[in-house]
Structure formats: C-alpha cells, structure tokens
Symmetry: C2
Subunit: 194 residues, 2 copies
C-alpha cells in the first residue's frame, strides 16, 4: 500500500495531541537515503498544544534513531490490537541484525502523496503523526529524548472523529495498545465519563 487509505482522515493540528493523550504505545518510523525503518516505543507523550509537539525516547542502539538524526524527521503511528504481534516484532528485532526486518514482520504503509521521502505511516494503525525533529543535543544525548513538531496528523475515522476517540463503536481489533512488558499489552478499555 502506498496511497492513504480512505478511512485515514486528516486531524486538525490543534487536536493532534489527543491522538497520544491516552498514553498508547507507538511505532516510530524514519526514512533516510531511501532506507526505511520502524521500531516500537512505549515512552512517548504529547509535549505541547500549539504548535503541537511530542516527546519520544529513542535508544542510542536503534537504527531508527540513526535515520531520525540523519533526516530530521520521524512519524508516530499508533498501533491497534490487530497489530500487537507486529509491534512486539519491530520492538524486538533490530534492522542492524535483521536486514529484512520490515518484510519479516509484515510492515506496510503509506506516505503523503506529495512527500515520497516521508517516514512510513504504518498501515493498520489507528492514527499517524508526521513530525520534524526540534533539534536539542542535550536531550538527545543525555536522555535519548527526541522532541518533534507535528506537521500533519491523520486518524482512522472508524475510531477517531470530531477530535475524539470513539472506540466503543468499533471492533476490539481497532483498540489501541498500552505496553507492559514481555509481550503483554493492555488494550484501551471502557469509556469512563465524569
């Protein structure tokens, strides 16, 4: 797949933080010099509303981090229950050791039509955020912390519309994931309204 799926609808930038506000595990993608990689990250969060910023921890050992540093960009894709095995797979294998990592784990995706060098937006995810790195050498070196300015965002309209998640009306396989350890996640659960 290389074209945006029809159910992936743009999200207004002032609502982009809501895609991460509930603390889901994410996939981090980067592309440089025609090389793509994707890894999993449990440690990410929104950092600002306007302009929308995100923070994500990328270990120095990862090839994705090298691509992020070279290209100055990354994407976050928010995986679903249906992608739990892929998420563990790309979070375990390194492209430094496993040359066909993305193919092995069945990672496919799309890119904005006018941006063929964008990081891969992973198919089957519930939301996507395309970010430019806000370069901060101290944070990157001392804390492995990368800050991104969100330039565009999309979400699967079956679970996110009108600036809100609506998991109740969709199959369980479209719920987002919250990683614990050792191949175990919790799915996003019941809605609680105050």
């Amino acid at each position: 797949m290389s074209i945006r799926p029809s159910f992936a609808q743009p999200v207004a930038l002032d609502k982009a933080y809501r895609l991460l506000n509930h603390g889901p595990t994410v996939l981090v993608s980067a592309r440089h010099d025609a090389q793509d990689n994707v890894m999993a990250a449990a440690w990410s969060m929104p950092l600002d509303f306007d302009p929308p910023k995100v923070a994500v921890v990328l270990d120095k050992s990862t090839w994705t981090r090298a691509l992020v540093e070279s290209s100055g960009r990354f994407a976050l894709s928010v995986p679903t229950v249906g992608l739990a095995a892929m998420t563990v797979g790309v979070g375990t294998d390194s492209a430094r050791q496993v040359a066909d990592k993305l193919a092995r784990h069945g990672v496919h995706g799309w890119r904005p039509e006018d941006d063929p060098d964008a990081p891969l937006l992973v198919a089957g995810c519930a939301a996507w955020l395309l970010c430019d790195v806000c370069v901060e050498p101290h944070n990157q070196q001392a804390h492995d912390l990368f800050i991104g300015v969100v330039r565009a965002a999309w979400a699967d309209e079956r679970v996110f519309s009108g600036g809100r998640w609506h998991f109740e009306q969709a199959p369980q396989a479209l719920r987002t994931l919250h990683y614990v350890a050792g191949g175990q996640f919790y799915a996003t659960g019941e809605s609680v309204r105050v």
Copy 2:
C-alpha cells in the same frame, strides 16, 4: 490517612518504570513549607530504567509546579477508575483560586513514615512514585518539562505484584485511567498477549 495502607507494597526501583509504561494519567503532588498541592497530568512517561527517571509536563500557571520548584521534589500517584471524578476535579481547579482545593475534592493520602515533608501519596491510587527533580532549566522553561529521579515506589498489591500489573483479578474500580478530554477517560482494558 497518614500511614501507608497495608496493600501499598514497595516496588523494586528497577521495575518502577512499569508503573507508567502503559501510559496512565497521573496525579502530581508537591509539598513545600507545609503546603500541599495535587494536580492531574496526562503528559508523563518513563524516561530511563536505571536509575529510574520519569518526565512530566507541568504548566507554568500551576501552583503544584511552584511547590515542585521550591522543594525540588514531586510524587506521581496513578489514579484508578474510582478516583476519576477527583482526578478531573484536581485537574480543573487551581489552588491559586480554590483555597480548599484538596478538601473540596476529597484528596487524602499518606507519606513515608520517616519523611514527614514528602509530597502526598494520594489514597485510592494504584501506584506511587516519589521523585527528586533533576534540575534542567532549559527543559523546565522552554517545554514545561520536569525530569524526576525515582527514589521510592509502591503499588497496590491487588493490581500490581511481581513487577507486573494484574488488573484482571481485581474490581474494575481499581483499573487505571487514560485521559482523553472533557471529563472522559478510557480505563485500562483487556490484556493482550503476543
């Protein structure tokens, strides 16, 4: 309540990151000069394993942030479904305007026995992390980002034991919360194993 509840058991520091790994909303507490405050924060994450560190975003307008800056400490408490209304309450009201904020929202808690000036560990939560601020003026000023080194951690043994969450065996009211917006959360949901 001022004594640690019997079900609040210590968590080994090398497992403390797991208390936040699944992306729950947290309560942030601080105490300075015998003044306590508690606020809610959806934007927090683990930042390191060893020593365990956490990151949390604290807006400049908050009184809790002022207490954190004065005391150099904060605590994170991980609220449960049973505390959803309190969590919205302390996330909405500011102690700058509402002098009896904690009493109004029924916030009670405990402190380590040998540390009477510790930030409040909020009763009814599922886990607690006591942190020293790792002072970083740029992050605090530019990003409202505070980094804490976790000095001690506890969890409710009914939902966390052996270094893992076990929500399946406990009442729904003990599940943790993931904030969306406008008084809506998602509870931590079904376990998904790969």
